[in-house]
């Protein structure tokens, strides 16, 4: 059974490049197209927490280090 986890994405730190979204293996991230942060950028958010496997791909690829990853303690 894959590991469980969740990510926290800093709304103001995200620049909306979408690299985390295309590199998420379980497609549980998306860009918020209806809202923007104070810089006018569509930020990324977590759509489906149940699917996150805490692989850290989004955090490694994020240029602005806006993502913090937590893993369920086994």
């Amino acid at each position: 059974m894959p590991a469980k986890g969740y990510v926290e994405i800093s709304v103001e730190g995200c620049k909306g490049c979408g690299l985390c979204v295309i590199n998420c293996p379980t497609d549980c991230l998306a860009l918020k197209t209806s809202e923007t942060n104070s810089y006018g950028l569509h930020y990324a958010y977590m759509t489906d927490e149940d699917n996150c496997i805490a692989c850290q791909n989004c955090a490694v690829i994020c240029p602005d280090a806006a993502i913090t990853v937590y893993k369920k303690a086994s």
């Binding site: 986890g5 969740y6 103001e12 730190g13 620049k15 909306g16 490049c17 979408g18 690299l19 295309i22 590199n23 950028l41 805490a54 692989c55 850290q56 791909n57 955090a59 490694v60 690829i61 994020c62 240029p63 602005d64 280090a65 806006a66 993502i67 913090t68 990853v69 937590y70 893993k71 369920k72 303690a73």
Partner: protein, 251 residues
């Protein structure tokens, strides 16, 4: 943090809180982050000195929480040479883009490598002059459109792109040369390992170490960050292959 969960990844503490000015999706920011993760892992924050170039990364000293020195355009290798000779016990790196290292500063780069100056080059190769508005650089690919090559780079007039890793790997005094990228999480992890190895070889005093990051420039290439990754894969990697070009013999 939620109950029952543990923190496994966060922004490195050696990276300042200040918001970086880079465009969305720029590998400059990714490379800053990876380098600062390495500094944190090796515990060398107090022992490392960086040299900033002129270019997009001119404000790198605002983002990396280590000692930094700004150099004149192209002269980062010369400044790093001076710093390393005065402080041989410190770890020194120069952080340069392609306009800085491969165009105006190629003489300093070549001679510093030929002398085997014991510091690390971090070379961001995005194939364009990003800061000044997307002009043709020495590393612009054949046929690539820029503001100064609107019909694409013509090799008859402008020559072919410079392959810096291939050039510097010919010197006996250079210890370690690798070209990496950050286009996928796997490649970003490899890039981090390469930077770590380069710093370790420098600490062993093996000679110059040279890491080229095949980078993107969504603003200069006039595309989205996602399209820039496709361009890298389809156009840049066939000409700038990733991999290790030179490594110390005993490893």
């Amino acid at each position: 943090m939620k109950e029952g969960y543990k923190l496994i990844y966060q922004k490195p503490k050696t990276l300042r809180e200040k918001r970086m000015h880079y465009c969305p999706g720029c590998f400059h920011a990714t490379t800053h982050k990876l380098m600062m993760e390495v500094v944190e892992e090796l515990g060398i924050q107090e022992k490392i000195i960086g040299v900033c170039p002129v270019g997009c990364s001119v404000f790198a000293y605002d983002y990396m929480d280590v000692d930094m020195q700004e150099a004149a355009h192209g002269r980062a290798a010369a400044v790093a040479t001076g710093i390393k000779r005065m402080h041989p016990d410190k770890i020194v790196f120069s952080y340069q883009g392609d306009g800085d290292l491969a165009a105006i500063g190629i003489a300093e780069t070549i001679h510093a490598c030929n002398r085997g100056e014991n510091f690390t080059f971090i070379f961001i190769n995005n194939g364009i002059y990003g800061m000044t508005g997307g002009q043709m650089a020495p590393t612009t690919l054949e046929g690539q459109k820029t503001t100064t090559s609107p019909y694409g780079r013509d090799p008859k007039k402008a020559g072919l792109p410079l392959k810096m890793c291939e050039i510097v790997s010919q010197f006996d005094s250079v210890a370690y040369v690798e070209r990496v990228s950050c286009n996928t999480p796997a490649n970003a992890r490899k890039a981090k390992r390469a930077i770590k190895k380069a710093f370790e070889y420098q600490m062993q005093g093996l000679g110059s170490t040279f890491i080229e990051v095949a980078s993107n420039c969504p603003s200069g290439w006039k595309c989205t960050p996602e399209e820039s990754l496709e361009w890298l894969k389809e156009k840049a990697f066939p000409y700038f292959p990733l991999g290790v070009f030179k490594k110390p013999e005993e490893v």
